[in-house]
Amino acid sequence: MEADSKPKKSGARLCCVCNQNRAALKRPKTLEQGVFYAVFEEEIHQVILENQLFKPGERIAIGASGGKDSTVLAYVLSELNRRHNYGLDLFLLSVDEGITGYRDDSLETVKRNELQYGLPLKIVSYKDLYGWTMDEIVKMIGLKNNCTFCGVFRRQALDRGAALLKVDKVATGHNADDIAETVLLNILRGDIARLSRCTSIITGKDGPIPRCKPFKYTYEKEIVMYAYFKKLDYFSTECIYSPNAYRGFAREFIKDLERIRPRAILDIIKSGEDFRISTTTKMPEQGTCERCGYISSQKWCKACVLLEGLNRGLPKLGIGRNQGLNSDGKKDRKRDSRTPSIESKQCGSLEF
Protein backbone atom coordinates (compact mmCIF):
# COMPACT_ATOMS: atom_id res chain seq x y z
CA MET A 1 0.00 0.00 0.00
CA GLU A 2 1.20 3.48 -0.72
CA ALA A 3 2.12 5.81 2.08
CA ASP A 4 -0.12 8.77 1.53
CA SER A 5 1.65 11.58 3.32
CA LYS A 6 2.47 15.24 2.90
CA PRO A 7 6.08 16.13 3.57
CA LYS A 8 6.46 19.12 5.89
CA LYS A 9 9.41 21.52 5.98
CA SER A 10 11.24 19.75 8.78
CA GLY A 11 10.90 16.45 6.93
CA ALA A 12 8.15 15.24 9.24
CA ARG A 13 5.41 13.43 7.44
CA LEU A 14 1.77 13.18 8.37
CA CYS A 15 -0.02 10.04 9.35
CA CYS A 16 -1.70 8.65 6.28
CA VAL A 17 -4.77 7.53 8.20
CA CYS A 18 -5.80 10.66 10.06
CA ASN A 19 -3.79 13.15 7.98
CA GLN A 20 -3.50 15.46 10.92
CA ASN A 21 -0.91 14.30 13.37
CA ARG A 22 2.78 13.81 12.81
CA ALA A 23 3.72 10.31 11.74
CA ALA A 24 5.73 8.29 14.23
CA LEU A 25 6.13 4.97 12.53
CA LYS A 26 6.80 3.80 9.03
CA ARG A 27 5.17 0.54 8.09
CA PRO A 28 3.84 -0.27 4.70
CA LYS A 29 1.80 2.77 5.78
CA THR A 30 2.99 5.73 7.76
CA LEU A 31 1.28 6.15 11.09
CA GLU A 32 0.85 8.40 14.08
CA GLN A 33 1.15 6.85 17.55
CA GLY A 34 -2.49 6.62 18.55
CA VAL A 35 -3.39 5.25 15.15
CA PHE A 36 -0.49 2.80 15.42
CA TYR A 37 -1.91 1.35 18.65
CA ALA A 38 -5.31 0.93 17.08
CA VAL A 39 -3.96 -0.69 13.92
CA PHE A 40 -1.57 -2.95 15.83
CA GLU A 41 -4.28 -4.17 18.17
CA GLU A 42 -6.86 -4.54 15.42
CA GLU A 43 -4.49 -6.62 13.30
CA ILE A 44 -3.87 -9.02 16.16
CA HIS A 45 -7.61 -9.24 16.69
CA GLN A 46 -8.07 -10.13 13.00
CA VAL A 47 -5.37 -12.81 13.18
CA ILE A 48 -7.13 -14.30 16.20
CA LEU A 49 -10.50 -14.32 14.43
CA GLU A 50 -9.36 -15.51 11.03
CA ASN A 51 -7.36 -18.39 12.46
CA GLN A 52 -9.93 -19.21 15.14
CA LEU A 53 -7.28 -19.26 17.81
CA PHE A 54 -9.65 -19.16 20.79
CA LYS A 55 -13.14 -20.20 21.82
CA PRO A 56 -15.27 -18.50 24.47
CA GLY A 57 -14.86 -19.97 27.93
CA GLU A 58 -11.37 -21.30 27.30
CA ARG A 59 -8.59 -21.07 29.87
CA ILE A 60 -5.45 -19.77 28.19
CA ALA A 61 -1.93 -19.75 29.60
CA ILE A 62 0.31 -17.04 28.16
CA GLY A 63 3.93 -18.18 28.09
CA ALA A 64 5.51 -15.25 29.90
CA SER A 65 9.23 -14.72 30.23
CA GLY A 66 9.16 -11.06 31.17
CA GLY A 67 10.58 -10.22 27.77
CA LYS A 68 9.20 -7.86 25.17
CA ASP A 69 7.09 -10.33 23.18
CA SER A 70 5.38 -12.06 26.07
CA THR A 71 4.75 -8.83 27.97
CA VAL A 72 3.14 -7.19 24.95
CA LEU A 73 1.20 -10.39 24.28
CA ALA A 74 -0.15 -10.44 27.83
CA TYR A 75 -1.07 -6.79 27.60
CA VAL A 76 -2.74 -6.96 24.18
CA LEU A 77 -4.55 -10.25 24.84
CA SER A 78 -6.07 -9.03 28.07
CA GLU A 79 -7.04 -5.78 26.36
CA LEU A 80 -8.64 -7.55 23.39
CA ASN A 81 -10.30 -10.09 25.67
CA ARG A 82 -12.00 -7.18 27.39
CA ARG A 83 -12.73 -5.09 24.35
CA HIS A 84 -14.07 -7.84 22.11
CA ASN A 85 -15.48 -10.16 24.80
CA TYR A 86 -13.48 -13.23 23.88
CA GLY A 87 -14.69 -14.71 27.17
CA LEU A 88 -11.26 -16.11 28.01
CA ASP A 89 -9.70 -16.89 31.39
CA LEU A 90 -6.10 -15.69 31.02
CA PHE A 91 -3.10 -16.84 33.05
CA LEU A 92 0.60 -16.09 32.98
CA LEU A 93 2.86 -19.15 32.85
CA SER A 94 6.55 -18.70 33.44
CA VAL A 95 9.45 -21.14 33.29
CA ASP A 96 12.42 -20.76 35.59
CA GLU A 97 15.37 -22.42 33.90
CA GLY A 98 17.71 -21.49 36.71
CA ILE A 99 19.98 -19.06 34.90
CA THR A 100 21.46 -16.69 37.43
CA GLY A 101 21.60 -13.07 36.43
CA TYR A 102 19.14 -13.60 33.61
CA ARG A 103 16.07 -15.57 34.57
CA ASP A 104 15.92 -14.46 38.16
CA ASP A 105 15.74 -10.86 36.99
CA SER A 106 13.20 -11.46 34.26
CA LEU A 107 10.96 -13.37 36.66
CA GLU A 108 10.76 -10.23 38.77
CA THR A 109 9.34 -8.55 35.69
CA VAL A 110 6.69 -11.25 35.26
CA LYS A 111 5.71 -10.87 38.89
CA ARG A 112 5.21 -7.18 38.24
CA ASN A 113 3.19 -8.02 35.12
CA GLU A 114 0.97 -10.22 37.27
CA LEU A 115 0.06 -7.17 39.32
CA GLN A 116 -0.02 -4.70 36.45
CA TYR A 117 -2.30 -6.77 34.22
CA GLY A 118 -4.20 -8.63 36.93
CA LEU A 119 -3.40 -12.06 35.49
CA PRO A 120 -2.66 -14.96 37.88
CA LEU A 121 0.90 -16.25 37.54
CA LYS A 122 2.32 -19.77 37.76
CA ILE A 123 6.03 -20.45 37.70
CA VAL A 124 7.47 -23.90 36.96
CA SER A 125 11.17 -24.58 37.37
CA TYR A 126 13.65 -26.93 35.73
CA LYS A 127 14.94 -27.73 39.19
CA ASP A 128 11.57 -29.05 40.30
CA LEU A 129 10.75 -30.80 37.06
CA TYR A 130 14.11 -32.27 36.11
CA GLY A 131 16.40 -31.84 39.10
CA TRP A 132 18.76 -29.63 37.10
CA THR A 133 19.07 -25.86 36.60
CA MET A 134 20.50 -24.54 33.33
CA ASP A 135 23.52 -23.27 35.22
CA GLU A 136 24.18 -26.80 36.47
CA ILE A 137 23.63 -28.22 33.00
CA VAL A 138 26.04 -25.79 31.38
CA LYS A 139 28.63 -26.57 34.04
CA MET A 140 28.40 -30.16 32.95
CA ILE A 141 28.11 -29.86 29.18
CA GLY A 142 30.05 -26.69 28.46
CA LEU A 143 29.00 -23.77 26.35
CA LYS A 144 27.88 -25.61 23.24
CA ASN A 145 24.39 -26.92 22.60
CA ASN A 146 23.00 -25.12 25.63
CA CYS A 147 19.95 -23.98 23.69
CA THR A 148 19.28 -27.58 22.67
CA PHE A 149 18.84 -28.64 26.27
CA CYS A 150 17.02 -25.52 27.30
CA GLY A 151 14.61 -25.52 24.37
CA VAL A 152 13.68 -29.16 24.80
CA PHE A 153 13.19 -28.83 28.53
CA ARG A 154 11.29 -25.59 28.23
CA ARG A 155 8.81 -27.06 25.79
CA GLN A 156 7.96 -29.84 28.23
CA ALA A 157 8.01 -27.45 31.17
CA LEU A 158 5.39 -25.28 29.50
CA ASP A 159 3.21 -28.32 28.92
CA ARG A 160 3.56 -29.44 32.51
CA GLY A 161 2.75 -25.98 33.79
CA ALA A 162 -0.22 -25.74 31.47
CA ALA A 163 -1.50 -29.08 32.75
CA LEU A 164 -1.13 -27.86 36.35
CA LEU A 165 -3.13 -24.76 35.48
CA LYS A 166 -5.70 -26.93 33.70
CA VAL A 167 -5.72 -24.66 30.69
CA ASP A 168 -7.06 -25.45 27.24
CA LYS A 169 -4.30 -23.75 25.26
CA VAL A 170 -0.95 -22.04 25.57
CA ALA A 171 -0.27 -18.77 23.73
CA THR A 172 3.34 -17.76 23.10
CA GLY A 173 4.82 -14.50 21.92
CA HIS A 174 6.73 -15.83 18.91
CA ASN A 175 6.81 -13.05 16.35
CA ALA A 176 7.26 -12.93 12.57
CA ASP A 177 11.02 -12.49 12.90
CA ASP A 178 11.28 -15.58 15.13
CA ILE A 179 9.30 -17.72 12.72
CA ALA A 180 11.27 -16.53 9.71
CA GLU A 181 14.47 -17.40 11.59
CA THR A 182 13.09 -20.86 12.36
CA VAL A 183 12.21 -21.48 8.72
CA LEU A 184 15.75 -20.57 7.71
CA LEU A 185 17.28 -22.65 10.50
CA ASN A 186 15.32 -25.71 9.45
CA ILE A 187 16.35 -25.23 5.83
CA LEU A 188 19.99 -24.77 6.83
CA ARG A 189 19.86 -27.99 8.84
CA GLY A 190 17.79 -30.00 6.41
CA ASP A 191 15.13 -30.59 9.03
CA ILE A 192 12.19 -31.25 6.76
CA ALA A 193 9.91 -32.56 9.48
CA ARG A 194 10.21 -29.36 11.47
CA LEU A 195 10.05 -27.20 8.39
CA SER A 196 6.63 -28.60 7.64
CA ARG A 197 5.36 -27.71 11.12
CA CYS A 198 7.13 -24.55 12.14
CA THR A 199 4.93 -22.05 10.32
CA SER A 200 1.67 -23.35 11.74
CA ILE A 201 -0.07 -20.77 13.84
CA ILE A 202 -1.60 -23.54 15.95
CA THR A 203 0.50 -26.57 16.84
CA GLY A 204 -0.19 -29.69 18.85
CA LYS A 205 -3.87 -29.76 17.95
CA ASP A 206 -3.85 -33.54 18.35
CA GLY A 207 -2.13 -33.33 21.70
CA PRO A 208 -3.43 -32.49 25.16
CA ILE A 209 -2.66 -28.78 25.09
CA PRO A 210 -2.40 -27.00 21.73
CA ARG A 211 -0.31 -23.89 21.35
CA CYS A 212 -0.84 -20.80 19.28
CA LYS A 213 1.22 -17.82 18.19
CA PRO A 214 -0.96 -14.73 17.83
CA PHE A 215 2.09 -12.66 16.82
CA LYS A 216 2.95 -14.90 13.87
CA TYR A 217 2.61 -12.02 11.41
CA THR A 218 3.73 -9.25 13.74
CA TYR A 219 7.13 -7.72 13.21
CA GLU A 220 9.46 -7.66 16.20
CA LYS A 221 10.12 -4.00 15.48
CA GLU A 222 6.46 -3.14 15.98
CA ILE A 223 6.25 -5.09 19.20
CA VAL A 224 9.17 -3.08 20.55
CA MET A 225 7.68 0.21 19.33
CA TYR A 226 4.34 -0.64 20.89
CA ALA A 227 5.98 -1.50 24.20
CA TYR A 228 8.09 1.65 24.07
CA PHE A 229 5.26 4.06 23.31
CA LYS A 230 2.93 2.42 25.80
CA LYS A 231 5.72 2.33 28.36
CA LEU A 232 5.23 -1.35 29.07
CA ASP A 233 7.49 -2.93 31.64
CA TYR A 234 9.74 -5.62 30.13
CA PHE A 235 13.10 -7.19 30.70
CA SER A 236 15.65 -6.88 27.96
CA THR A 237 18.90 -8.74 28.25
CA GLU A 238 20.28 -11.51 26.10
CA CYS A 239 20.47 -14.89 27.76
CA ILE A 240 24.06 -15.27 28.87
CA TYR A 241 24.34 -18.60 27.07
CA SER A 242 22.84 -17.50 23.76
CA PRO A 243 25.79 -15.91 21.96
CA ASN A 244 26.89 -19.41 20.96
CA ALA A 245 23.55 -20.38 19.51
CA TYR A 246 23.20 -21.23 15.84
CA ARG A 247 20.03 -19.19 15.70
CA GLY A 248 22.17 -16.08 16.05
CA PHE A 249 23.36 -16.48 12.47
CA ALA A 250 19.85 -16.75 11.12
CA ARG A 251 18.86 -13.74 13.18
CA GLU A 252 21.72 -11.62 11.89
CA PHE A 253 20.82 -12.55 8.33
CA ILE A 254 17.13 -11.77 8.82
CA LYS A 255 17.97 -8.40 10.34
CA ASP A 256 20.21 -7.50 7.40
CA LEU A 257 17.46 -8.61 5.02
CA GLU A 258 14.86 -6.56 6.84
CA ARG A 259 16.93 -3.47 6.34
CA ILE A 260 16.99 -3.95 2.59
CA ARG A 261 13.53 -5.34 2.02
CA PRO A 262 11.32 -5.47 5.12
CA ARG A 263 8.72 -7.64 3.42
CA ALA A 264 11.25 -10.45 3.23
CA ILE A 265 10.29 -11.59 6.71
CA LEU A 266 6.66 -12.22 5.81
CA ASP A 267 7.72 -13.69 2.48
CA ILE A 268 9.98 -16.23 4.17
CA ILE A 269 7.08 -17.27 6.37
CA LYS A 270 4.89 -17.62 3.28
CA SER A 271 7.55 -19.81 1.62
CA GLY A 272 7.63 -21.95 4.74
CA GLU A 273 3.85 -22.26 4.72
CA ASP A 274 3.66 -23.22 1.07
CA PHE A 275 6.54 -25.67 1.17
CA ARG A 276 5.41 -29.04 -0.06
CA ILE A 277 7.43 -32.14 0.65
CA SER A 278 8.10 -34.67 -2.07
CA THR A 279 6.02 -37.79 -1.55
CA THR A 280 9.14 -39.91 -1.80
CA THR A 281 10.78 -38.23 1.19
CA LYS A 282 10.79 -40.41 4.26
CA MET A 283 9.30 -38.58 7.23
CA PRO A 284 9.57 -39.62 10.87
CA GLU A 285 6.39 -40.96 12.40
CA GLN A 286 5.03 -39.41 15.55
CA GLY A 287 4.54 -41.80 18.43
CA THR A 288 5.04 -41.53 22.16
CA CYS A 289 8.05 -41.75 24.41
CA GLU A 290 8.40 -45.11 26.15
CA ARG A 291 9.67 -43.50 29.29
CA CYS A 292 7.34 -40.57 29.86
CA GLY A 293 4.56 -40.80 27.28
CA TYR A 294 5.37 -37.46 25.74
CA ILE A 295 5.02 -37.04 21.99
CA SER A 296 8.09 -38.37 20.21
CA SER A 297 9.20 -39.79 16.89
CA GLN A 298 11.88 -41.92 18.55
CA LYS A 299 11.67 -44.56 21.26
CA TRP A 300 12.54 -41.98 23.87
CA CYS A 301 11.66 -38.31 23.61
CA LYS A 302 14.53 -35.86 23.42
CA ALA A 303 14.01 -34.60 26.96
CA CYS A 304 14.35 -38.12 28.37
CA VAL A 305 17.44 -38.75 26.27
CA LEU A 306 19.09 -35.52 27.40
CA LEU A 307 18.13 -36.08 31.03
CA GLU A 308 19.54 -39.59 30.96
CA GLY A 309 22.79 -38.23 29.58
CA LEU A 310 22.95 -35.63 32.33
CA ASN A 311 22.13 -38.05 35.12
CA ARG A 312 24.61 -40.62 33.93
CA GLY A 313 27.27 -37.93 33.66
CA LEU A 314 28.60 -37.11 30.25
CA PRO A 315 32.17 -37.91 29.33
CA LYS A 316 33.55 -35.66 32.00
CA LEU A 317 34.83 -32.27 30.99
CA GLY A 318 38.55 -32.42 30.30
CA ILE A 319 38.55 -36.18 30.07
CA GLY A 320 37.55 -38.06 26.95
CA ARG A 321 38.36 -38.68 23.34
CA ASN A 322 39.07 -35.07 22.41
CA GLN A 323 41.45 -34.50 25.24
CA GLY A 324 45.01 -34.33 24.08
CA LEU A 325 48.15 -32.27 24.08
CA ASN A 326 48.65 -29.73 21.39
CA SER A 327 52.07 -28.76 20.04
CA ASP A 328 52.64 -26.29 22.87
CA GLY A 329 52.50 -29.07 25.37
CA LYS A 330 49.50 -27.40 26.99
CA LYS A 331 46.43 -29.49 27.63
CA ASP A 332 43.91 -29.29 24.88
CA ARG A 333 40.87 -27.70 26.45
CA LYS A 334 38.47 -28.49 23.64
CA ARG A 335 35.47 -30.10 25.18
CA ASP A 336 33.17 -32.65 23.70
CA SER A 337 29.91 -31.27 24.95
CA ARG A 338 27.54 -33.52 23.05
CA THR A 339 25.81 -36.46 24.64
CA PRO A 340 26.51 -39.85 23.10
CA SER A 341 23.03 -39.98 21.66
CA ILE A 342 23.35 -36.66 19.84
CA GLU A 343 26.73 -37.64 18.40
CA SER A 344 25.36 -40.79 16.88
CA LYS A 345 22.67 -38.87 15.05
CA GLN A 346 23.08 -37.69 11.51
CA CYS A 347 23.03 -33.99 10.95
CA GLY A 348 19.49 -32.77 10.47
CA SER A 349 17.85 -35.76 12.08
CA LEU A 350 17.64 -34.49 15.64
CA GLU A 351 14.11 -34.60 16.94
CA PHE A 352 13.19 -31.93 19.41
Binding site: A24, I223, T237
Partner: protein
Protein backbone atom coordinates in the same frame (compact mmCIF):
# COMPACT_ATOMS: atom_id res chain seq x y z
CA UNK B 1 24.30 21.12 20.25
CA UNK B 2 22.49 19.89 23.35
CA UNK B 3 20.70 16.60 22.92
CA UNK B 4 19.09 14.00 25.15
CA UNK B 5 19.96 10.41 24.31
CA UNK B 6 18.25 7.33 25.66
CA UNK B 7 19.49 3.77 25.38
CA UNK B 8 17.09 0.88 25.84
CA UNK B 9 16.57 -2.79 25.22
CA UNK B 10 19.86 -3.69 26.80
CA UNK B 11 22.01 -1.08 25.01
CA UNK B 12 22.45 0.81 28.25
CA UNK B 13 24.82 -1.96 29.29
CA UNK B 14 27.26 -0.65 26.68
CA UNK B 15 27.21 2.78 28.32
CA UNK B 16 27.90 1.68 31.86
CA UNK B 17 24.20 0.97 32.51
CA UNK B 18 23.25 4.60 32.15
CA UNK B 19 20.02 4.91 30.17
CA UNK B 20 19.75 8.68 29.80
CA UNK B 21 22.52 10.96 28.63
CA UNK B 22 22.34 14.72 28.29
CA UNK B 23 25.07 15.52 25.85
CA UNK B 24 26.61 18.44 24.09
CA UNK B 25 27.83 17.48 20.65
CA UNK B 26 30.12 19.66 18.61
CA UNK B 27 29.20 20.12 14.99
CA UNK B 28 31.68 18.57 12.61
CA UNK B 29 34.27 21.01 11.28
CA UNK B 30 32.90 23.28 8.60
CA UNK B 31 29.37 21.96 8.90
CA UNK B 32 26.38 24.01 9.97
CA UNK B 33 24.15 21.00 10.68
CA UNK B 34 24.43 17.84 12.75
CA UNK B 35 23.27 14.67 11.04
CA UNK B 36 22.47 11.31 12.62
CA UNK B 37 25.54 10.01 10.83
CA UNK B 38 27.67 12.50 12.76
CA UNK B 39 25.88 11.74 16.00
CA UNK B 40 26.42 8.00 15.67
CA UNK B 41 30.13 8.47 15.19
CA UNK B 42 30.19 10.75 18.20
CA UNK B 43 28.27 8.26 20.33
CA UNK B 44 30.56 5.41 19.37
CA UNK B 45 33.60 7.40 20.35
CA UNK B 46 32.29 9.07 23.48
CA UNK B 47 29.54 6.99 25.03
CA UNK B 48 29.99 3.35 24.06
CA UNK B 49 32.39 1.90 26.58
CA UNK B 50 32.39 -1.72 25.44
CA UNK B 51 31.42 -4.02 22.55
CA UNK B 52 30.76 -1.30 19.96
CA UNK B 53 29.76 -4.03 17.48
CA UNK B 54 26.57 -4.46 19.53
CA UNK B 55 25.60 -0.90 18.72
CA UNK B 56 26.97 -0.16 15.29
CA UNK B 57 27.71 -1.95 12.07
CA UNK B 58 29.65 0.14 9.62
CA UNK B 59 28.28 3.67 9.53
CA UNK B 60 24.88 2.86 10.88
CA UNK B 61 23.37 1.14 13.86
CA UNK B 62 23.47 -2.62 14.02
CA UNK B 63 20.46 -4.14 12.28
CA UNK B 64 17.92 -4.76 15.02
CA UNK B 65 18.48 -1.44 16.78
CA UNK B 66 15.57 0.95 16.46
CA UNK B 67 16.19 4.67 16.35
CA UNK B 68 13.61 7.27 17.29
CA UNK B 69 14.17 10.99 16.87
CA UNK B 70 11.64 12.91 18.98
CA UNK B 71 9.51 9.76 19.26
CA UNK B 72 9.49 9.33 15.54
CA UNK B 73 11.01 6.42 13.58
CA UNK B 74 14.18 7.70 11.87
CA UNK B 75 13.19 5.88 8.70
CA UNK B 76 10.68 8.68 8.20
CA UNK B 77 13.27 11.40 8.43
CA UNK B 78 15.99 9.90 6.27
CA UNK B 79 17.84 7.58 8.66
CA UNK B 80 21.50 8.61 8.66
CA UNK B 81 20.71 11.83 6.83
CA UNK B 82 18.26 12.99 9.49
CA UNK B 83 19.29 16.43 10.68
CA UNK B 84 19.16 17.11 14.37
CA UNK B 85 18.16 20.29 16.13
CA UNK B 86 18.88 21.75 19.53
CA UNK B 87 17.21 19.84 22.40
CA UNK B 88 16.20 16.89 20.19
CA UNK B 89 15.64 13.55 21.90
CA UNK B 90 17.17 10.48 20.28
CA UNK B 91 16.27 6.99 21.50
CA UNK B 92 18.14 3.80 20.61
CA UNK B 93 16.32 0.57 21.42
CA UNK B 94 17.76 -2.85 20.79
CA UNK B 95 15.35 -5.59 19.79
CA UNK B 96 18.00 -8.28 19.95
CA UNK B 97 17.08 -10.21 23.05
CA UNK B 98 14.62 -12.83 24.17
CA UNK B 99 10.93 -12.13 24.12
Amino acid sequence: MHLTLEFGGGLELLCKSVKFHNVNVDLPKGADKLSMRDLLAWVRTNLIKERPEMFMKGESVRPGVLVLVNDCDWELSGQLDTTLEEKDVVVFISTLHGG
